[in-house]
Subunit: 256 residues, 6 copies
Amino acid sequence: MYLGDEAWPDLETYFEEESLALVPVGSTEQHGPHLPEGTDHLIAEALAREAANRTGYLCTPTVNVGVSAHHRQFHGTMWVSPPVFRDYMESLARNLTYHGIDRVIFVNAHGGNVEPLREVGKRLHEDETAYTIEWMWDESIPELVREHFSVPGPHGGPKETAMIMHIANELVHEDRLTDARDGGLVEWGAGSARQFGARTFFDAIDNTENGVLGDQTDATPEKGEELFEAATEQLCNLSEWLAGQEYESLLPKEHV
Amino acid sequence: MYLGDEAWPDLETYFEEESLALVPVGSTEQHGPHLPEGTDHLIAEALAREAANRTGYLCTPTVNVGVSAHHRQFHGTMWVSPPVFRDYMESLARNLTYHGIDRVIFVNAHGGNVEPLREVGKRLHEDETAYTIEWMWDESIPELVREHFSVPGPHGGPKETAMIMHIANELVHEDRLTDARDGGLVEWGAGSARQFGARTFFDAIDNTENGVLGDQTDATPEKGEELFEAATEQLCNLSEWLAGQEYESLLPKEHV
Amino acid sequence: MYLGDEAWPDLETYFEEESLALVPVGSTEQHGPHLPEGTDHLIAEALAREAANRTGYLCTPTVNVGVSAHHRQFHGTMWVSPPVFRDYMESLARNLTYHGIDRVIFVNAHGGNVEPLREVGKRLHEDETAYTIEWMWDESIPELVREHFSVPGPHGGPKETAMIMHIANELVHEDRLTDARDGGLVEWGAGSARQFGARTFFDAIDNTENGVLGDQTDATPEKGEELFEAATEQLCNLSEWLAGQEYESLLPKEHV
Amino acid sequence: MYLGDEAWPDLETYFEEESLALVPVGSTEQHGPHLPEGTDHLIAEALAREAANRTGYLCTPTVNVGVSAHHRQFHGTMWVSPPVFRDYMESLARNLTYHGIDRVIFVNAHGGNVEPLREVGKRLHEDETAYTIEWMWDESIPELVREHFSVPGPHGGPKETAMIMHIANELVHEDRLTDARDGGLVEWGAGSARQFGARTFFDAIDNTENGVLGDQTDATPEKGEELFEAATEQLCNLSEWLAGQEYESLLPKEHV
Amino acid sequence: MYLGDEAWPDLETYFEEESLALVPVGSTEQHGPHLPEGTDHLIAEALAREAANRTGYLCTPTVNVGVSAHHRQFHGTMWVSPPVFRDYMESLARNLTYHGIDRVIFVNAHGGNVEPLREVGKRLHEDETAYTIEWMWDESIPELVREHFSVPGPHGGPKETAMIMHIANELVHEDRLTDARDGGLVEWGAGSARQFGARTFFDAIDNTENGVLGDQTDATPEKGEELFEAATEQLCNLSEWLAGQEYESLLPKEHV
Amino acid sequence: MYLGDEAWPDLETYFEEESLALVPVGSTEQHGPHLPEGTDHLIAEALAREAANRTGYLCTPTVNVGVSAHHRQFHGTMWVSPPVFRDYMESLARNLTYHGIDRVIFVNAHGGNVEPLREVGKRLHEDETAYTIEWMWDESIPELVREHFSVPGPHGGPKETAMIMHIANELVHEDRLTDARDGGLVEWGAGSARQFGARTFFDAIDNTENGVLGDQTDATPEKGEELFEAATEQLCNLSEWLAGQEYESLLPKEHV
C-alpha cells in the first residue's frame, strides 16, 4: 500500500490493523559517468514500493536527498548536513506515530545515510516512541552480490549498475561502463585509503577520479532483476518479522 | 533537464552556462476523501519537471514531506516541524550553490510551506548566498482559477482536484466528489474562523470534518489541463525572468 | 490590570479567577520620514493596556523588538532573527502558564511578527500547554480602515500615522506627510513586486525609497481616535470571548 | 537620544558621528509586597534614557523580560530561559552593528541578567563584531549604597525601593515596608544559604518567604534621587569613556 | 569509590544504597609560567577522589576541558564554548540519574566553570531530575586562604601554587615564582579593570602579561597540604550533608 | 609532550615548529564483570601519551565520557548524547587551531565514538579549519589481534582485557575471566543480531547478559604488552606521516 496514492479514509483500516511503515530513503549524488544521480533513491523507492505491494504494508513517499557531502566535488550532487538530515528523519518518523505506527523500516540505498539513520533509530528507541531500524538493501544479500560480480565495489559499481538496469534501464549509459571502470578505482578494500589504521580520506574524490569504486562491466539487467527479487524478498521477510513482534519486546530492556 | 536522471559528466555544461535550479516542494497530507495524500507533491513535481523540460533549466528531485501538522488529525498525514523543515530546505539550497547555482525557485504546491520557504529565502538572501524564491502555483493564475470554479476553496477544492485529474486521473475518486463537498466546508473566506480579527483555529479539522474546503464538483480533467498549461507557462516565464537578471541586482540593496 | 505595576501579592486574586494574559508585541523599525521607529510597539502597547484597563484582564510588559530585518537598510531599525524571536516568545508565553495562564493573546502591531507568532501559537497548542493566538490590530477593523483612507498602505501609511497622531501626536512629523507619500510607494496591491505569481522582493527598500507604502496625507488624530476605539473594542471582545471558552474546547481536536 | 522616538532620517547624523548604543535590560519579576514587578526594567529604562539625554548617545527601547526563573514561585514573575535570553540579546546587539554601532552598553538592573549578558558580550568580542559590556547600576555606586542604607539587601531592598520611589513613587506601597522587611530575609551575606562552600539554593523562595532580601524601611525618595543622580553620572562617564576609546584597543589582544 | 576503576557488578550495591555522585570538573589552561596547564583539573580530581575515598561516595572520571576562552592568548589553553560545555555537563549529569543518582556535586576548580555549572544545576533542578550543585574548592576555605597568603590572587596565585606543590610538586617550576609574580598583576581587587561600575575586560591578557594574578612567592607544599586537607574535609562534609537530605526537600518549592 | 604538565611558556617552541595534536578519547562504561569502567579511556590515554613521549608530538588531556548509551543498562555506564558529544569534540578541536594546530588525531578506544568523531572530522575538513582524523587502536593491528586470540570479540573481550592487564593490571578481575566469557556472548559475527540484513539491536544488553562479547580467557599481560607496543608504533607512524604532509594536500580537493 502506497500512502501517497491513498485518500485518507482509505487508510483507516490499515492504521487500525497494522503499525508498520516503510520509509524509502536515498540520495541524489554522482554515481559515476554511467549511472544517474538519482540511483540511490530510485533503488530505495523501487524496493520499498514492491515490498509494500507484496506484503500489504504501508510505504511512504521517498526522501530523496540525504548525507552526500563526500560526493560534492562531482557536478549535481545534492546533500544536507548530517544534523539536519537526522532531525528531518526523526521528525518525520516521530510524527508517523501519531497515526499509530510504532515500528518503521528506513529502506535505505545509500551508505552515507546508514549511521545517521541508526542514530535516529536510537533516539526513538530510547524514549520508547517507536522501533525504527535501518535496512540497507545490499547488506541483506551479500552472498548473491559476491556471487554475481568479480569486484562489487561500494559506489557506482556493478551492484548499483545492475539494479538500475533492471529498474530504469534507459538511465544507464551502457557505452560508458568500461570507461567508468578505467577512470575510477576498481579495487577497494578494508585497507584502502588508510594509514596505520586510520581512515585518511574524507571525500570520494580522494580515491577515485570519476566517482566510481568497483568494476561494473559485468552488470546486466538479468543480474539486476535477481538482486531486486532477492532484496525484495529480504525486505518482505523483514517486514513480516517486525510486524510480528510483540511491541513490548521491541522496547529497551530494563536496567539490570 | 532533470537532475535525478543525469550522470554527473552530463551536467557540466549546464553548470557552466546556467545558475538556476527549480526545486519542487510538496507535502504528503490528507486532501479529502477524493484526492490522494500525495496531491501537493504530485502537482509540484509535475509542474517543475514540465517547466524544466520546456525551458532547459534544471529541476531537482522533489521534497515530499513538508509543514502539515495542521492536517494531522486525518489518517496518513505526514509532516516535519517547521524549524526542521526550514533547516532541511536551507541546507539543501545552500549546498546547491557549491555547483554554481545562485538562484533557486522553490516550486511549491502547499500553503503550509509558503512562509517557511520564504524564511529560507531570506536567510540565503541576507548572507548573499543565493536568490531563492517561493512560487505557489495557484497564486500565479488567480484569474483563471476564479473563472473556472464557483468556489475554488483553499484545500482539496476544485483547483487541486482538476490538477490531479489531469496529472494522475486514476488517483481521483470521482464518485466521492459530492460527498467531499457536502462533508466539508464549502465557503471559506477571509473572515472564516476568526474572532474579532484574530485567527482562532489551528488545525484543518477545526473547520472541516472531512478535510475539504471548497466545492470540487465542477472540477474536470480539461480544466486541470488548462490550469496546468497556464501555471507551467507562468513558471517558465518566471524561470526565464530570473535567469535573465544580473546577479548584482538580486543582492540585498545597500544601507541608505 | 498591568502586570508591571503590580506587587506580587496583588496578583493572587487574578490568577485564581482568570487565566488570560495579553502580551503586547511590536517592533522598532523605520516607519518612514514622518513616524517614529517605535510606532509598532507604541500601538501594540497602547491597545493592550487600554483593553486590559477596560476588561480587567492582565496585560504584560511589551516586547519591543521583533522580526524586522526587511527594514534594516533604514537607519535605526532593530531586529532579531525569526528563530530567536520565536524561541523568545515561546519561552515567555510558556512560562506564563506556570502561574495558571492557559490562554494568551499576542497583541501585535507588526506584520513581520504575524507568522512567527502564529508558529509559536501552534507549538503551545500542539503540546496542549496553552491556547495562544496572534491578533493584529488593523486586521480587526478592515472596513473602518478602508472607509477612512483612500490608500491605507501596509507600512507607514495613514492607518499607523493616524494611530500615532492619537497616541503620541508629538512624535509625528506632520510637515513631512506629503514628502513621505511622494518619496515612497503609494499604490501597493496583491500583485505588487511579483513576477508570474512569485514574490520577488525581500526588503522594504526593494519597493520604496523612503520606507513608506501608502498615502498618509489624509491621516488625522480624529481618525486615529476612531481606529483606536474600534480596535480596542475588538480586542476587548476578543478577550471576553477567549476568556469565556471552555479550556477543553481550545485543545487540539482528537484524531478522526 | 531615544531611538524609539526618532524617524529614521533623523538618525543618520548620529550613526555617521557615533558608534555607541545604550540598551536597557531589565526583568519583570516579583520584588516583594511593596514594589512593582516592573521594578528592574523601570530602573534600567530610566537610567539609560536619562544618560542618553544628557550625553546625546543613543538609547534603544527596553528589553523587559529576562532571566528570572528563580523568582517564579511568586505570582506574576515572567522569564525566558537563559539560552533563549542570550540568543535574543546577541541577535539584537549583533544587528545594531549593521548601522555602524560597534560598542554597546547593556544598562542592566537585574542580577540574574549579569552573567548571561557578559556571555553575550564575549561572543561579540571574540568574533570582533562589537565591544559589548554589561553595566549594573548599583555596582557603580557601592559606597553611596552602603552609606545610605543599614541593610542594602540584594533584592527588593532599600536600593531598589528608593529608586522606584524616585522614578515612579505611585507604584511603591509605602504602607507595606515594615511587613516587607519582616516577612523576608533581612540579613543576606556571602555565606548565606551555603553549605561548606557550595551554594545550596536555587530559588529566591528558598531564602525568603515574601521574596524580599534586605531592610527597606530606611528608603526615601530623596535617597532614591541621590542614587539615581549618582548612577546616571556613572553611566554618562562610562558612555563617554567607551565612546572615546580607539576601536582597535577594544578588540581582543593578539596571541602572545 | 572511583567509578572508573570498578567493574559494573561491583557498583550494584552502591546504587542500591546511595544516590550521590561527585563529578570533578576542571580546565586545561595557562596558569602562569610556573604552573602546569592541567592545574585546575589536577586539583578537582585530587579533591574529589580523596573525598570519595574517605566517605565512600562515588567519584566519576574528570572533565578536563571547560570554559577557558578568556585564557586563549596563552599557548596551550584548551576550551569549549559555554553553550557546548553546559550541554555536555547537562547530558553527563542527566544520564547519571538513569542509575539512580539524584544528587550531584560538581567538584570544580576553575572560576570560568562556576556560572555554567550553576546553570546546568538549575536545568536539572527545575525539571526535578536531580539536585546538582557546584562546589568551588577555594570558596569553601576562604579564611584559611586569607590566613596563609598575603595576596591570594584569583589565578595562578599562591592558592593554586601551593595545591599543586602538594599534589604534583614535580610540575611546579619553583625557580620561576618570583618572575611569575613580577610579570603578572599582583593586586587584583573588586574594582580592578572596571570603569564606572562596568567590567571592562574580557580576557586574562587584558590584565596580566604572563597570565598570573596574585603573588605566589609564599606558597609552600606544607600550606598546600593544609589547604588540601581543609578543602577535602569541607567536601566530605558537603557530601554527607547532601546525602543526608530528604529528596523531597531538594525539589523546587511550590508556587506560593 | 603532554600538554597538561607543561607551563605555557614551555609550549611556545612546539607551536612554532609543529602543528599536530593527539587527543585521547575514551568512554566510561561497563566492560563486563572483569574489567573496569574506565577501560576505554585508560587505553586511549596510555597509547596517546606513549606515542607523544616517543615522537615528541603534543598529547592533550583525555576526554573520558563519550557515546555509550547502548551500555546504559549496566551499572555505572556514563554517556552524553551523540549531538552533544560531537559539539564538544568539535569545539575542543576547533579551538586548538587558535594555537596553530592544523591536524588532529583523535586517539580513540571506543567503538561508539568512531562515527561521531569522523563526523567531527568532516566538519573541520569541509570548512578547512583542520585535518582531523579518528584512529581506533585495534583497527591498526587487526592481524596481531587475530593471531593472539581465538575469539577477539568487540567488547570486553581479550583485546581489551590484555591491554588493561598491561596498563593497569590491578584493575582486572582475573578470577572472573571464565565467568565473564560464560555469562556473555562469545561468538559475535557480521550476521549476529541481524534480521534479513537489518541490524535489529540497539543496546549491548540485547545481545549479552553480562555485557561481554568475546572470549577473554586467553588474555595475558604479555599479549597486552605486545598489542600496546604494536599499536603505539602504529600511532607513532601515523603521527609522523600526518605531520609530514603538506597542509595543502590535506585540504578538500577542488570541484572537478
